[in-house]
């Protein structure tokens, strides 16, 4: 019977030599795809409206974003859903042209006509605010606009 006696043997160790490779691969993937948020949000993260006819925004470097929504700090900025954030400050619509012109200096002249302004506004903000921004954008000839919306059924 000694032939069938089990050999005393511990569990074979799983070879983990390739584990760092796998992890590094994942790491590089996320490092490449990650984008840090450049601006701190002064307003609460806007609840975007949903729409079905959305187009993706391409060329991130040519997009400037204007946020509209409720301030995180109502004591300083006041209440209401109509606060406009440019860069990392709460601003008024009058400051929009300066913001756009400033953004234009960062891209080459040939690309200026392709610049898009993305308006990220909260569902509950008012059309009046958006119109103010729109009129200011028209003054400085920033005519391409994207109303940021999440893809959904639209209702």
């Amino acid at each position: 019977m000694s032939k069938f006696r089990k050999k005393k043997k511990g569990m074979p160790a799983v070879n983990t030599a390739a584990l760092p490779d796998i992890v590094f691969m994942l790491l590089f993937f996320f490092m490449v795809t990650t984008t840090m948020r450049e601006t701190d949000l002064r307003i609460e993260n806007p609840r975007l409206p949903s729409a079905s006819e959305v187009k993706k925004l391409e060329h991130k470097s040519l997009v400037c974003t204007i946020y509209v929504g409720k301030s995180k700090d109502p004591n300083r900025d006041g209440v209401g859903f109509n606060k406009i954030q440019l860069n990392d400050k709460i601003a008024s619509a009058d400051q929009v042209p300066a913001f756009i012109i400033n953004a234009r200096t960062k891209v080459s002249e040939a690309e200026v006509p392709f610049m898009t302004t993305s308006i990220k506004a909260d569902k509950e903000s008012n059309v009046g605010t958006i119109t103010d921004i729109r009129l200011k954008l028209r003054d400085v000839n920033a005519l391409k606009i994207s109303y940021s919306a999440s893809k959904g059924s639209g209702n």
Binding site: P20, L27, F30, T34, S118, K123, S146, S148
Partner: protein, 207 residues
Amino acid sequence: MARRENPEINAGSMADIAFLLLIFFLVTTTMNVDSGVSKKLSEKPPADYVPPIIKEKNIFVVLINRNNELLVEDLRMDVKDLKDAAIAFIDNGGGVGTAGEDGSPGKSCDYCEGERSESSSDHPNKAIISVQSDRGTEYGTYIQVQNELLRAYTDLRNRLSKKRYGMSFDALEEAYDADKTNEALKKKVEDIKTCYPQIISDAEPTS
């Protein structure tokens, strides 16, 4: 003295370090692609600009009041019915279209499937949708209305594209995006776009 072997560096904790970094990037990563309803503003009109006279029947007026209610062509309407109303208006084809750039007279719409009623729009390229909103209108409603109107155009374009080229306009555009150099595809896309141009005007809001 016996020569010692070069001691190997213990790489056991390498995985831990890599994991730590991995988790950091996993948490900070945002992969959202910005998407939105795109729109092109009209240029600022010169001071002495006289707006062209447009026939009342070629304008489809959508009013949104401060309580987010819709008034479409003097009738109250729900957002869900807006698309069909807009399609009926755009696709009416009751008269002749705008004259060609080379001075050729406008043709009547031979691809429209509407009622061809006298009291609605003449031709898709004459049909103007005017959205008038109140300053107090909620942005969400405004986008919903814009979205419904765009859907109306998309439906019409898809229909025409299927009839002419056997594929939907979305598929056509996608194919063109993948192959920008393809002149035949470009022509098809342009053709559909000129047949149903998107003319949505935003009037200044009432206060």
